[in-house]
Symmetry: C2
Subunit: 328 residues, 2 copies
């Protein structure tokens, strides 16, 4: 195994979040999946955008948020994702690079435009995500740089990008390259992957031991395994996954690794403003701890601190000095 010069390379959606506050009546009148994510066509996105209130735009994307957090925690990281050659693409690229995240996927010079996620935040701080993936779903295996993947200790794959065929092929190829170089592959679930006819494909990927580290929240692992109790979920998934990390919202998180099981409570937050990015930043903190040789409990604790910071303000990218907060 050769030495690595990157801690993590992530593959995920390259999108800009369009964040507006709203009330529960708006969410229910439109039948939006409160607390969840749905995909929209360009026309549906235009229609919802026209109906929603004034917004702020902040770069997003689940794995991209994780890399923003990992960079803020002092890790050397890279991101692979597809934007178009337009103003939102420029914003996404600027924000990655200015955070110190290596981002060199060439922008597409053809439609569709850079993806957006219309995020509606209700007074209870829950976010409801409506994604128009645009260029993001045009990622192909050709966009991969095998040397980049081999140079990273961990290849981190985003569940949201597992749905469309070409990005899924790119992620499977990245996992193959990583494993053949003796690296670790991490995968983060998304709820939309764990239900309906996609579930079997994801279970197959996990049973094939594609993911050495698996992140998910309680709902996701329940939907994926079909088990009612958390213990049964853990029992089933631990057969295939070396490190299993399950976040439980205000109830904290649990991790299982080589038979060791550790649970922690949630880090305190003065005021929860917007839960967007909580899982993304938890993964960032956990992986940062792992890259810096922390114990399983230490990894969970850093994840918890990073998640607590990001839910205290609008947007899914850290604003405070995470490195200081996490004492890394």
């Amino acid at each position: 195994m050769t030495s690595t010069n990157l801690d993590i390379v992530a593959i995920g959606d390259a999108i800009v979040d369009v964040i507006a506050t709203t009330d529960d009546a708006f969410i229910s009148a439109r039948g939006l999946p409160k607390g969840g994510m749905q995909l929209l066509t360009a026309e549906q996105a235009d229609e919802l955008y026209a109906a929603m209130g004034p917004a702020r735009e902040i770069s997003g994307g689940s794995a991209a948020n994780s890399m923003a957090g990992a960079a803020a925690l002092g890790l050397d990281v890279a991101f692979v994702g597809q934007v178009a050659n337009d103003q939102l693409g420029d914003i996404f690229a600027h924000d990655m690079v200015s955070l110190g995240v290596q981002f060199e996927t060439p922008a597409l010079n053809a439609p569709p435009p850079t993806g957006r996620c219309l995020i509606l935040v209700t007074p209870d701080a829950q976010r409801t995500m409506n994604t128009c993936p645009g260029a993001s779903h045009e990622l192909t295996p050709a966009a991969l740089d095998a040397d980049l993947i081999r140079s990273a200790s961990i290849t981190f794959l985003e569940g949201y990008l597992w749905g469309p065929e070409r990005p899924r092929a790119a992620m499977l190829e990245a996992a193959r390259i990583a494993h053949s170089a003796g690296r670790t592959v991490a995968f983060t679930l998304s709820e939309s992957l764990c239900i309906g006819d996609r579930r079997e494909g994801v279970r197959g990927m996990i049973e094939a031991k594609t993911a050495d580290i698996l992140f998910g929240n309680e709902d996701e692992v329940r939907h994926l395994t079909g088990c009612g109790s958390l213990d049964d979920c853990i029992g089933q998934l631990s057969q295939y996954v070396g490190t299993l990390v399950i976040t439980r919202g205000s109830r904290g998180a649990v991790a299982v690794q080589n038979g060791e099981r550790v649970e922690i409570g949630a880090a305190p937050v003065a005021r929860i403003v917007d839960t967007t990015g909580a899982g993304d930043l938890f993964a960032a903190g956990f992986l940062a701890g792992r890259c810096r040789g922390r114990s399983l409990k230490g990894c969970l604790e850093i994840g918890s601190i990073a998640a607590a910071e990001v839910i205290s303000h609008f947007g899914a990218r850290p604003e405070a000095n995470l490195k200081e907060l996490a004492a890394l």
Copy 2:
């Protein structure tokens, strides 16, 4: 004088703010005008953008911010300003319309792109603005709808847009239309107008009684009049302006109208985060009070409340329920 169905129509820059936090070292190393505004070419803006940190994008523009505030205060308002047919232009238009501001200026289908203002916020909450005006400065008198102007009680003109020739001509024409219909014209100063060779033009406009209501901060009126004391500034400007409103930051504000002089202190703010938009929202609150028949002191108080809200968070558009805060 026919009846009006709009409270205010404003003419100003149609731009999107790109807001990043930074430290004083970055501001001084680059010789940026701390607390002020400078105009950048597209190349200079690209260079500064590449050097600055991750940002959030929030619709801006001084008079546009005022209209966002006035709409939030329950007024019927319209905005005239020039965007391009691009993603930032779509964002600007969406945010205006979703706030209830009538905005029908057709987007330009040619370069330059929609304007942006790179705003750097230092830990003392001061904002340093670096504007690449783009399409915003392409506004011409042809974009005016005379019926719209005649239908508004107040025509509100933005000092930043007074610099370039064609927008200045548009604003003078709007003032002429408004006055010939018996309406009120308000003008808000910008620091850049009050210094150097632009000063005489602005003084000429004021001496010609183009502005019935004039807004400015203490620095601006000092630069404009050349007077050292605030009393001398007031004495000089009151000769030409029916209502003079001078904001004084943490020292509150003073207004002079028909010989009556009223001063108030600043409204309390728990934590000042970003002073962008303080003057814009002060003007919005003052004009809302005037449109609703409040006393001069009442107008100042509503201005002060609206300004206090906007400096308590990032961005120059209100987030809280201003109407409730101002008990309007």
